[in-house]
């Protein structure tokens, strides 16, 4: 064990000195997480549209929207509503980007609806906030469709005679169903965009980071230092162990630093630290095993690096590190279970949804299984590497 630690300490000193591990393990994933979380809007519950609302109507139709629909949408965290006295100020704020969109309920809207006449609710959206504008429009469209249906029903009732039209309209106008947001089970929750890209980039680049340790066995052979290690009074297992420790430490440090950095810098929410730590350790082990297999079946460090890059990218894409798998076909979600990445992200998603520590057990076991199988293969083939 002492010899393995010595070899690992030497390897780590070399990696820190050549800066490649720092670049691939920290700088690249952190940079990409920052970029992705900045340019791709959050499509989960934390995405928020800032709305200006101007009620010039003061009647039941506007009140139905403002008092019945908007509060439930606001509560779900989708919209934030700010009331305005006049339309010009609201529109100016939208144009300046202070608000994403504005709803303007014109004077006489309710009267017009009650009388069965036409009416226009104005919505102004910021051209640079297309998704926010679409969400704002969808919320309003849903309500207006209800108003339209009620208006038709009221008209039909009036034509059948004998009903107090005013009170019927007033009652009907407040009936429209509020937008219903169904909560989902914790297991089906997705990470918010910031956390998703932070975790996705961390697990994606983890596979590049751990390769430095396992591939250094091939570098020892290339530099002629492997015979020297083999001739030293140490066990051969301590050489393999040293490389494993190097990979493990590099991978774990990279993940930890990224978790802390993305939490502090961009507000990523990784979840329960103990659960995250379990997922990280099992994720690092799975990456170590897979990359060790690639290293020991390669003949040169260059060949290993090429194959490891291919494996890391394919597994990363398949494992859903660049986009949520729920947005792809179902077969993709099934195939993703063949990658540690998907298990890691699933575990984090469940944790961030407020799940207890037990939600990481299955993902962690899945990743440890990857490690057990691949490490076994690597040990069998690794004997060839040690035969100089």
């Amino acid at each position: 064990m002492r010899a393995a630690v010595l070899i690992a300490a030497k390897d780590l000193a070399q990696r820190i000195r050549d800066k490649s591990a720092i670049l691939l393990g920290l700088v690249a994933p952190l940079g990409l997480a920052l970029i992705f979380s900045a340019i791709i809007p959050d499509t989960s519950g934390s995405f928020n549209v800032d709305i200006a609302i101007v009620d010039q109507d003061g009647g039941a139709v506007a009140a139905g929207f403002i008092e019945e629909v908007l509060p439930s949408v606001e509560e779900a965290g989708i919209l934030t509503v700010t009331g305005y006295e006049d339309a010009d100020t609201a529109i100016a704020d939208v144009e300046s980007g202070t608000r994403h969109a504005a709803y303007i309920f014109p004077s006489g809207l309710t009267t017009s609806v009650e009388s069965g006449g036409g009416a226009v609710v104005q919505m102004v959206g910021n051209v640079d906030q297309t998704i926010s504008t679409q969400i704002a429009r969808a919320v309003l469209d849903g309500y207006l469709a209800e108003v339209d249906a009620v208006s038709i029903a009221v008209g039909a009732a009036a034509m059948s005679g004998g009903t107090d039209l005013a009170s019927l309209s007033e009652r009907a106008a407040v009936v429209p169903a509020a937008v219903v947001l169904a909560d989902v089970e914790a297991a089906g929750r997705e990470l918010d965009a910031t956390t998703f890209f932070s975790a996705g980039m961390a697990i994606f680049f983890l596979f590049f980071t751990v390769q430095f340790g396992v591939s250094s066995l091939l570098e020892e052979r290339l530099h002629g230092t492997l015979p020297r290690l083999l001739g030293a009074p140490i066990s051969r297992w301590s050489i393999i162990g040293g490389k494993g420790i190097t990979s493990f430490v590099l991978g774990l440090v990279s993940m930890l630093v990224l978790a802390v950095a993305t939490t502090v810098l961009i507000g990523a929410e990784w979840g329960n630290p103990v659960g995250v730590a379990i997922l990280m350790v099992s994720g690092v082990l799975s990456a170590l095993g897979i990359m060790a297999v690639v290293a020991v079946i390669s003949k040169t460090p260059e060949q290993a690096a090429n194959w490891q890059s291919i494996v890391a990218v394919v597994l990363g894409l398949l494992g859903g590190t660049f986009f949520p798998l729920s947005q792809g076909p179902r077969i993709l979600a099934l195939l993703s279970k063949l990658t540690p990445h998907a298990w890691f992200l699933q575990g984090l998603g469940d944790l961030s949804a407020g799940g207890s520590l037990s939600v990481v057990v299955v993902p962690a076991l899945a990743m440890i299984t990857f490690f057990a199988v691949t490490a076994g293969i690597a040990v069998v083939f690794g004997r060839k590497v040690l035969a100089v």
Partner: protein
Amino acid sequence: MNVLECVGLVKAFDDLVAVDDVGFHIAAGETYGLLGPNGAGKTTSISIVSGILEPDAGTVTVGSHRITTRSTEGKGDIGYVPQDIAIYPDLTGRENLRFFGKLYGIPKARLGPRIEEVLEVIGLADRGDDRTGEYSGGMKRRLNIGIGLLHEPRLLILDEPTVGVDPQSRNAILESVEELGRSGTAVLYTTHYMEEAERLCDRVGIIDGGKIRAEGTRRELVELVGQRDTVNLGVVGSARRLVDGLSSVTEIESITATEGAVEILVDGASKLLPRILEVAQQAQVAVSGVEVVEPNLEAVFLHLTGKALRD
């Protein structure tokens, strides 16, 4: 007492038998040379001796420890200097020495002073804190040897340490090996340079095709194959008269006379030279020059294998 004993070493790679029944021993303070051309089986032999390669048959014992690829005891008594430079280019000279010193279990209190001693011996004391990637080829080669010396091994194995080295560094390396022998270290030295084997080695094993063809001191090897000394005389006057005069000297193997020169093949030139000069004087032949050429290992190798060392 022997520090190293190898018995019946055999190693084959598929159909190629690289080492075939190789055996030798080295005593403390003795320098043993394995002399042979490239591909003769030298590196495979010492890889087995160092515990890097597992033999198909045979045993290696250093001190009282059997050496195998799995053993750890006994390997601490071996200092191994591979043919290829085996150092970490992104570590400094001192860091390289420190890493291998720790790996060989040198106590912390001893390691620092020992590193400085070795740096002094290999002439890198002022460059110890430079990364070895910035070293010249000769400096790397010296550090390569320094790592092998660091833990003060009982047996030092050097695999062609002077290949690709400039003459100055080469001489420094040879002097270091001579000094090690004098200090009581057993040295196993492989080379395909006949001059190095003759200069350094107390005994030489001539290896070719994976087999040790002959073994012994230089004199023993020469005698083994019946090689003789050659005395070349430059003469003024009748070489014929000198040849006639020398025909009565029974120790002379053969005489060849040309214009102004006589080549005499004898057994033990140093003893016979006064007699030869006396005959020349009696024959009234003036001797203008004398050269005695002792048989060398190159000739022995040629005799044993039918090919030159550098073939």
